[in-house]
């Protein structure tokens, strides 16, 4: 853009007259800026291609995993013990050396762009891995220091996240005095001190009581809404169903399912209901077209296929002079899918935990 006669300095199109070529140039420039911005927002938060990992003892943990997680997503990575979830996270966090494949965080390779990828990434490990003899505050502030935060900023951030996670009262105590649930929340506060754009949590609520688990979920939902991409591995399938929008299931080092939670749940063609009745029964009543099981003398389990009507069930029960006291959905829907997809037996007694 050259200086034009009678016009001190060339300005934007709304300041004076522009030649056609200048307008064209400006238009191209704007388009480029816009497309860069769009492309950047479309770059996946994580992009994994053909990832293989064979450990020194010959165990093949990952057999060619490819996976994309979009920015802003709340993503569940599910799998049984030893399926390869933690190995995948280990490779992303550079704690595990891959055998082959590539991992990109926000479009940058974790091996060639070490500094940027690590700044964008926060990891909450499965096991407690801070020194139990250090003070809670020191653990978080020290981690901030490793990411280059000046001490003042690190302290401010530590206070912010310790308060949000309900740990501020303990900030001056050694980490060993914290309860199991609090230790897990300290792991989250530590992972957030450098305010990463992507947070990966490896079973963040394992062994945490219901109340703390729920408040952890609320906290994670909040930071996800504020823009942080979250990847979660969990054994509690209820957790994944409640929180996550997209899901991948991993089995024996391979991705077996990678879809949206909604679509996945739609593929479920059977739903189980447990009905508590006023009547005492010795055998399950015959309800034409429905699968019925007697659980105990006052409760029945009814399986409903897609397209079947619950009203019909009640009609048939009325015909059999059985009156229903209450009704609930049996266990977790995702759990049924998980079992059918991975063909693994499960123990449903432990609040939906897959053993």
């Amino acid at each position: 853009m050259s200086t034009r006669p009678g016009q001190g300095v060339a300005g934007a199109p709304w300041q004076g007259h522009w030649k056609g070529s200048e307008c064209c140039l400006f238009f191209c420039y704007a388009c480029r800026l816009l497309s860069t911005a769009v492309l950047q927002s479309m770059t996946p938060a994580i992009s994994i291609r053909n990832l293989y990992k064979t450990y020194a003892n010959g165990f093949k943990a990952l057999n060619g995993i490819s996976l994309d997680v979009q920015q802003g997503d709340f993503f569940a990575l599910l799998g049984a013990n030893g399926a390869g979830k933690s190995t995948t996270i280990g490779v992303i966090a550079t704690l595990v050396k891959k055998t082959a494949g590539t991992v990109e965080v926000f479009g940058q390779n974790v091996e060639t762009h070490v500094y940027d990828t690590k700044l964008n990434l926060g990891v909450v490990p499965q096991e407690i891995n801070f020194s139990l003899f250090e003070k809670v505050m020191d653990i978080v502030v020290t981690q901030g220091g490793y990411y280059g935060l000046p001490i003042k900023v690190a302290k401010e951030r530590a206070e912010k996240y310790l308060r949000q996670l309900g740990l501020w009262e303990k900030h001056n105590q050694q980490a060993r005095v914290l309860s199991g649930g609090m230790k897990r929340r300290l792991l989250i506060a530590r992972a957030l001190v450098h305010e990463p754009k992507l947070l990966i949590l490896d079973e963040p609520t394992a062994g945490v009581d219901i109340e703390l688990r729920r408040s952890t979920w609320e906290f994670l939902e909040e930071i996800n809404k504020a823009g942080t991409t979250i990847i979660l591995t969990t054994h509690y399938l209820e957790e994944a169903e409640n929180l996550c929008r997209n899901i991948a299931m991993i089995d024996k080092g391979e991705i077996v399912v990678n879809t949206s939670m909604k679509q996945l749940l739609q593929t479920l063609n059977k739903e189980l209901f447990v009905l508590d009745t006023y009547n005492h029964m010795t055998t399950a009543p015959l309800l034409n077209g429905f699968e019925v099981k007697l659980l105990d003398e006052t409760s029945l389990e009814v399986a409903l296929d897609k397209g079947q009507n619950l009203n019909e069930v009640f009609q048939l029960l009325s015909d059999n002079r059985i009156s229903v006291k209450s009704m609930r959905n049996k266990s977790n829907r995702l759990e049924q899918l998980f079992v059918s997809l991975l063909h693994r037996p499960i123990d449903t007694s432990a609040a939906g935990a897959v053993k």
Partner: protein, 267 residues
Amino acid sequence: MSTYDGKTRLMLNSYIFIAYQTIVIKEVRRFLRIWVQTLVPPVITIALYFVIFGNLIGSRIGKMGGYSYMEFIVPGLIMMAVINNAYANVVSSFFSQKFQKSIEELLVAPVPNYVILLGFVTGGVARGLCVGLIASLISLVFSGVHMHNIFITAIVILLGSVVFSLGGFINAVYARNFDDISIIPTFVLTPLIYLGGVFYSVDTLPPLARHISQFNPIFYMVNAFRYGILGISDVSIGLSMGLLTLLTVVMFAFSLRLLYTGKGLRN
């Protein structure tokens, strides 16, 4: 990281310096927090050496190298305290962090390997110097003040503690359990220190033992340090300094290589 422009590079350097500072503060805080285990035992040991060897037995030994026996052993005992503690600090701190996996805090962060190494070594040097200073103060009670060459004294004590911090680091990287971090100090380090001329001049040894002593790196450190304080040495001071520098460089390079290959740290 070589693709960054000058300004970003400068910013990164300041981040990296903060990371280094953080590791050092953490290391110093650790040995100060457990001072009963880290600072008190060496002080008691050194005081006992001074009383028993220097004062009680030493008075019957007579002069060695032109100095009283007490004056002769002071530099060696201070050096012994420094290298023992530098080694112990890094080996126990790094191994326990590896053992309880808190080393992952550093490995997931964007901290270059050389900064991790420098941080731990500085922690070891800090404890070595701290104990060395206390030992020197105790020695004043038993012996007069000598300082032949402060420059050589400072260089030797610094390089000596760096070398043994690196030794502790290498030991910790290879260690798989707590036995492994006490085997080397007990079976290798202690004999080398005791046979390294802390308590005697090699002139008093038979020719074969004198010859063997020349393969002991601690022998050179003790003599160089004694030269700095008293001005006497069993070996050439140039050779001692050269060896010490070479050892520092080789061990630093080896430790850094261990970190880059992820030995014992990254699967």
